[in-house]
């Protein structure tokens, strides 16, 4: 049983946490791709800046002496999401809308998004330096240890409070997104525009509004993902820049333009990464008693060494692009 609990701690929980963050980021990328038809690289900076907005708000709350039962990062999240949504709208108005008006190609928009990435990253580093920050400087990070002795395990199940909240918040927002996309007029308009932009326009859908809503949803979800990542690890200026490729991989694996695909892709990549670096010897060690001397298991038996963890996502990405370029959920094709 100890082995099973170890597996749950190392793979199931770690994979779910990583998968939630990838999924929330990938939804934004996939929506922007579906509606505006370009790969938005600056999404990583929306995540990082969102996390910094939340961090500033949490610091303000702490300085006002407000103490909350759950981590302050989660309490200020809705406000930070609103600020991030406005920030995303501002970026669109300032940098992408003029190019769109000129009828620029998607490639030009992609390069412009890289320019935006660099500018936002430069600004974040300018204001916050290159160091790292923690949401838990003034409050403690609660760790739940669920005793599993009744199942015969010597190790407890370990999950931190932010991780638990993160999974709950992700599930809620995914449900909300689902309801928004399927039930509301605007959500249906968004899906229609993602399927066929020209057809949507001639059938009287207000495309300007749809574009705005896309940025609002993408910015808010990016802020959520970034803040939760910062709550789980630490907050630093290259927080999301380092994981933008796994997030893109999640969006592509799920099929670009498909919101549900992005969620599936995010979870898939998250679990794949934690499974690939999982040390199987820990689980298979009882076999050593049965196996002969020459076939003893080595100390580490991971599929991929830990330092190559991020490459797992890239390999999945490349394989998917080769075998099924439109992704699992049949996203946009060329």
């Amino acid at each position: 049983m100890t082995e099973l609990v170890f597996f749950i701690n190392q793979v199931v929980i770690a994979g779910a946490v990583l998968g939630c963050i990838y999924a929330l980021g990938a939804v934004g990328i996939t929506l922007v791709f579906g509606i505006l038809r370009f790969a938005h690289f600056a999404h990583s900076e929306l995540m990082t800046s969102g996390a910094f907005f939340a961090f500033l708000l949490a610091a303000m709350f702490a300085s006002w002496g407000i103490v909350t039962p759950i981590p302050t990062g989660f309490v200020v999240l809705p406000i930070a999401m609103v600020i991030s949504a406005i920030f995303a709208l501002g970026i669109d108005k300032g940098f992408y809308a003029p190019l769109r008006k000129r009828g620029a190609k998607p490639v030009t928009l992609l390069i412009a998004s890289i320019g935006v990435t660099l500018m936002v990253q430069g600004l974040i580093r300018l204001f916050f330096g290159a160091g790292s920050y923690s949401f838990f400087e003034t409050e403690t990070k609660e760790v739940f240890r669920i005793d599993t002795a009744f199942l015969g395990s010597t190790r407890p199940l370990v999950i931190t409070e932010p991780q638990l909240l993160m999974i709950i918040v992700t599930v809620i927002s995914v449900l909300a997104l689902h309801l928004f996309l399927t039930r509301s007029r605007l959500g249906k308009a968004m899906r229609a525009m993602a399927d066929n932009a020209d057809l949507a326009q001639v059938s009287g859908i207000n495309t300007t509004l749809v574009v705005r809503v896309t940025w609002i949803v993408a910015g808010a979800l990016a802020c959520m993902a970034g803040t939760m990542l910062a709550l789980d690890v630490t907050l630093k200026p290259d927080l999301a820049f380092n994981i933008i490729i796994p997030i893109f991989a999640a969006a592509i694996v799920g099929g670009l333009g498909q919101a549900y695909g992005a969620i599936a892709g995010g979870l898939l990549i998250g679990f794949a990464e934690s499974l690939a670096v999982f040390n199987w010897t820990m689980v298979l060690r009882p076999l050593n008693a049965v196996l002969p001397e020459w076939a003893q298991l080595p100390a580490t038996l991971a599929l991929v060494p830990t330092e190559y963890k991020l490459t797992v996502a890239f390999v999945i990405l490349v394989v998917v692009l080769l075998v099924r370029p439109t992704g699992i959920f049949k996203g946009a094709s060329s």
Partner: protein, 427 residues
């Protein structure tokens, strides 16, 4: 058109003179050598993007390959490795690799013995897995042994110019494989795939300590031309020895650049260039005229990568240190893209102009923003608001912002670049 280019190049020359006057000759000469290497890299990207319309966002990977190549070729031989069991163990790993490759190829041909459809897919996946395990079982102990006994494999002790050539060859080989995999994807997929591949290359080079020494870095890598120390040994003073040595390196680098431009321009103004332009502008029409679009795109991807590899090798041999952790997508992929966008894609002179200009902006924006910060800090201290903290690190970050600003302004106001592609119309 020509007048505009000449004016811009004259302006660039004045800028170089100003930088030389402000920052001193040794600084400027170093930056010019780097600018030459970056011009070569920008030309490589210009071939891929400007001529072929291929969206290569994995420049960093090819730069690292070039850097590794010159390290491997020109670093002195490591007798500790060659005297140990290391070569023998590596040989076995190579045999395991070959066996794995054969297995995979065999699985891909399994339809010949009647295994088709789903079963073939299963066999292929299984073959990949077995091949991976077989290779890992040989390379892991070999790597551990070499790292423990000899540090790393070391170099071959050959001339650095050979290393530059090998950088080009190595980049070409990898580009061929990457191209086989990724070309044919639509533009943004290609961008993301190439970023992914360059990150894989970075992870490999950074962690294959037995081959590249990873984060421990390799230095000093020999120069192709005499070093400042050599001039000092013959009695030159510090200043003139620096200038002489860097001047020599600069001449060699410019010679390589001129040769590259000459070759490319000849090819591009001929029938080959016409074919490439037609493929870029309308690949469907070009294909229907009987051009093999995929093969030609692969060709152009490989050609561009050769120049990028050579440029990467040149940069490493100039700085004399190979440090895999110093490679960042911002400095080594996006910077090159900014050079091309600002300079003008599809125009060789635009690429060279953009490379030199952006490199100068990139290096002087740090001291410049430091000066601005110090001025503002002086005012704010006088006004009683206190000084700006950490001016040094903040001004180092400013250049990332400046780069982003330059790219967005260029796209908005000069989308074709400062020296745009010259569209020839035969009358």
């Amino acid at each position: 058109m020509i007048q505009r280019s000449l004016t811009l190049f004259a302006g660039l020359f004045v800028l170089i003179l100003v930088v030389g006057w402000l920052m001193g000759l040794p600084f400027t000469s170093s930056r010019l050598v780097e600018a030459t290497a970056y011009s070569l890299i920008a030309l490589g990207l210009n071939i891929q993007w400007g001529y072929g319309g291929l969206f290569n966002f994995g420049i960093m990977g090819f730069l690292m390959l070039g850097g590794f190549a010159v390290t491997f070729i020109s670093y002195p031989i490591n007798p500790q490795f060659w005297g140990s069991d290391g070569p023998w163990m590596l040989g076995r790993a190579l045999i395991a690799f070959a066996a794995g490759a054969l297995l995979v190829i065999g699985a891909q041909q399994s339809h010949r013995v009647g295994i088709t459809g789903r079963w073939k897919a299963v066999v292929t996946v299984l073959a990949w897995f077995v091949a991976y395990c077989v290779y890992r079982s040989q390379i892991d102990p070999a790597a551990a042994y070499i790292e423990a006994n000899a540090g790393f494999v070391g170099g071959l002790g050959a001339h650095p110019v050979l290393g530059w050539l090998f950088g080009g060859v190595l980049a070409a080989v990898i580009a061929f494989i990457v191209g086989k995999i990724a070309l044919g994807l639509r533009t943004d997929y290609l961008a993301i795939a190439t970023i992914g591949i360059s990150e894989i290359i970075r992870a490999l080079i950074k962690n294959m300590d037995w081959l590249t020494r990873g984060t421990l870095t390799v230095s000093p890598i020999p120069w192709p031309t005499p070093l400042p120390q050599d001039y000092q040994a013959t009695g030159s003073d510090l200043f003139s020895s620096l200038l002489l040595a860097r001047g020599g390196f600069l001449l060699l680098a410019i010679a390589v650049l001129v040769l590259a431009i000459w070759l490319i321009s000849r090819a591009y103004s001929g029938p080959w260039g016409r074919m490439m332009r037609s493929i870029r502008d309308n690949h469907i029409a070009a294909a229907s005229m009987g051009k093999n679009v995929t093969a030609r795109q692969l060709e152009i991807f490989v050609f561009g990568s050769v120049l990028i590899g050579i440029g990467g090798a040149m940069l490493v041999s100039f700085t004399q240190i190979f440090d895999p952790s110093s490679y960042q997508p911002i400095n080594h992929t996006f910077l090159i893209w900014v050079m091309i966008i600002v300079g003008g894609a599809g125009n060789n002179w635009g690429a060279v102009f953009g490379a030199v200009l952006i490199w100068l902006i990139w290096v002087i924006s740090e001291p410049l923003s430091k000066a601005v910060f110090e001025m503002v800090s002086y005012w704010s201290t006088n006004a009683g608001w206190g000084a700006i903290p950490e001016i040094e690190s903040r001004s180092a970050q400013m250049r990332v912002f400046v780069l982003g600003l330059v790219i967005t302004i260029a796209l908005r106001f000069a989308p074709k670049g400062l020296i745009p592609e010259a569209v020839k119309r035969d009358t």
